[in-house]
């Protein structure tokens, strides 16, 4: 089984995010970066499949700046076998479209049965990459899976996909692209021996020239959407503390306020 996992490094969920003073970029100063939450499920699932099947390779594919190496090493320490890192200034500032373009080109020449991505990156929240990648590689794609079963002959997968108020059970022939969401598994922590081993695993950098794409096709220049301006959400002012001598009285006053003042019930 050849399994590829696309992985992105993003700011930690607890990080406060602010634009730069001119509002054209995000100020990343002092921010802690981690592996994208949904990509952790993708890595874990890939490792579990490999372990169940008893053979195969899990390859991490990451597009991102130099610091992304930390998250790649985390995945290798979890047990992934090797990684490629699309690290070139030309890849920066892209949208899902131009990022998928570069990823597809890098993956094209590799062998794969399964490609996993996270459902979305929790920084730009586009939730497009897996499907566009599938489109560019001419593979079927299934988004937001919470269960993955490989068929006996390893040629098909039966997966559960989360939708509003339900779960779809879908069957697809491999190779295919799947995006992982919470509920799929419990990602493992890297073990100490795993961390030691990860240092020696292959991590291949890929530059724009290696892909045979032009600068106009990737990153910011190849993007189809661009952010003109960032802003902070409107500040919410703390409102009224509901008075009352007893919890019952507070409940009664709250109900009244919601009915008469806020008019929401």
């Amino acid at each position: 089984m050849e399994i590829i996992v696309c992985l992105k490094q993003v700011p930690d969920t607890e990080a406060e995010i602010r634009p730069t003073p001119d509002n054209t970029e995000i100020n990343y100063e002092g921010i802690k970066f981690v592996m994208n939450v949904y990509d952790e499920y993708a890595v874990e699932e890939a490792l579990q499949i490999k372990e169940r099947v008893g053979e195969g390779t899990v390859t991490i594919v990451t597009l991102g700046p130099e610091r992304a190496v930390e998250s790649i090493r985390t995945a290798l320490a979890m047990g992934a076998d090797k990684a490629v890192h699309l690290d070139d200034p030309a890849f920066g500032g892209g949208d899902a479209y131009s990022t998928a373009k570069a990823l597809a080109k890098a993956i094209e020449g590799m062998s794969y049965d399964i490609i996993f991505c996270g459902k979305q990156a929790i920084d730009d929240d586009l939730a497009q990459g897996g499907n566009i990648l599938g489109e560019f590689l001419n593979l079927p794609s299934i988004t937001g899976i919470v269960k993955f079963d490989l068929s006996e002959d390893k040629k098909k997968a039966t997966v559960q996909r989360q939708i509003e108020g339900g779960i779809e059970v879908l069957e697809v022939s491999l190779p295919a692209v799947f995006t992982a969401t919470k509920g799929l598994n419990e990602p493992r922590y890297p073990s100490l021996p795993g961390i030691m081993k990860a240092k020696k695993k292959e991590l291949k950098p890929i530059k724009l020239a290696d892909l045979g794409l032009s600068e106009e096709e990737v990153g910011k220049k190849g993007a189809q959407i661009q952010v003109l301006k960032f802003s902070l959400p409107p500040v919410r002012q703390a409102g009224t503390i509901v008075g009352g001598d007893t919890p019952e009285e507070k409940a009664e006053n709250l109900a009244k306020l919601l009915r008469e003042e806020a008019k929401v019930i």
Binding site: T13, I17, D125, N131, Q162, I163, A251, A255
Partner: protein, 329 residues
């Protein structure tokens, strides 16, 4: 000819509410651009839903019908919608940012090689007629004003519960155009084996108008019935914080926050939720926020329109009773 198109998502024979919300806002864009507002229905038997789209503002409705489209598949619907778009060339294509809307829009954008802004909370067109979208990033910690390359259609998926639908006018009759798509089995590629309903008849958190959420302060899964009871009298649904989900008290589909669902109800009641930054990002655009927590220092109070500093177990049951009483009046 162009046109502004709204993809009309439907389930079990009913058009999803977000479709009407998008039509309401898209009508303004269509007027500004001097283009027609069209809706697109894709499925096996959809023509019966066309008039409703007209009532909500669509001037023309494309009904793309084939037996092979009886249930949603990424491949089948992508082919049907992309082919029609390539033939008719709308300038803007809008969808709801639902599970299937996000799935379909991404695959269609990839096929058409166009730009797509996900989960937008506002749309407009500039003087040149280019789509401008406002969308949250980092689950709402920041907002971005997004512009598009001039490749059309410019695409956006729209967050449910944010835009306003028009008052339906049954006298508005749309022009209905039937389309027979060219969808082959090899376009579909995925077999739908089963669809298991998990939420009953209740709306999803992302579409709910009232949400009652519980966090670590609920102390255990056995106590959530008091929130269920409050949600029931409010016709709302129950959500949960990451702490409650990670503890295994609630299913992960109930999680509100940056690694769960971003919600925009009219009323969000947070019981026993301290308000971590990732939770606040996920519910901060709710219209009215109520916090019930015994810790007066809990960060959630800084975002709440109404705060009750007390033991939730002593506040929630009488609140349910009071709401019942008010509703009966």
């Amino acid at each position: 000819m162009a046109g502004i198109w709204v993809y009309a998502e439907h389930r079990d024979g009913t058009i999803r509410k977000v479709t009407f919300e998008i039509l309401g806002e898209a009508k303004k864009l269509a007027e500004q651009k001097g283009e027609e507002l069209c809706a697109v229905l894709v499925g096996a038997d959809v023509e019966g839903m066309a008039s409703k789209l007209g009532a909500y503002g669509a001037e023309r409705v494309y009904c793309v019908e084939a037996e092979s489209l009886s249930g949603y598949t990424t491949g089948g619907f992508t082919k049907a919608l992309s082919d029609l778009v390539q033939q008719e060339k709308p300038s803007i294509l809008l969808l709801g940012a639902t599970a299937n809307g996000k799935d379909l829009s991404a695959r269609v954008a990839g096929r058409l090689k166009v730009g797509l802004a996900t989960d937008c909370t506002g749309i407009a067109v500039d003087d040149a007629g280019t789509l401008q979208a406002r969308r949250p990033m980092f689950a709402g910690k920041v907002y971005a004003e997004v512009s598009f390359s001039d490749v059309t259609p410019q695409m956006a998926s729209i967050r449910p519960n944010v835009l306003l639908a028009l008052e339906p006018d049954e006298t508005r009759k749309p022009e209905v155009i039937k389309i027979t798509p060219d969808v082959k089995p090899e376009d579909i590629r995925i077999a739908v084996k089963d669809i298991m309903k998990t939420g009953g008849e209740k709306p999803d958190l992302t579409e709910a108008e009232i949400i009652v959420s519980g966090g670590r302060g609920m102390k255990g899964p056995e106590n959530y019935h008091i929130l269920e009871e409050l949600a029931d009298v409010l016709s709302g649904v129950v959500g949960a914080s990451r702490a409650a989900v990670d503890a295994g008290w609630r299913p992960q589909s109930d999680q509100v926050g940056q690694s769960g669902k971003v919600v925009t109800p009219n009323l969000y009641i947070a019981a026993g939720i301290s308000g971590s930054i990732q939770h606040l990002a996920g519910m901060g655009t709710s219209k009215v926020i109520v916090a019930i927590n015994k810790d007066p220092e809990a960060p959630i109070f800084k975002k709440a329109d109404y705060g009750v500093v007390d033991d939730l177990f002593k506040v929630v049951p009488p609140l349910t009773e009071q709401v019942k009483k008010l509703k009966a009046e």
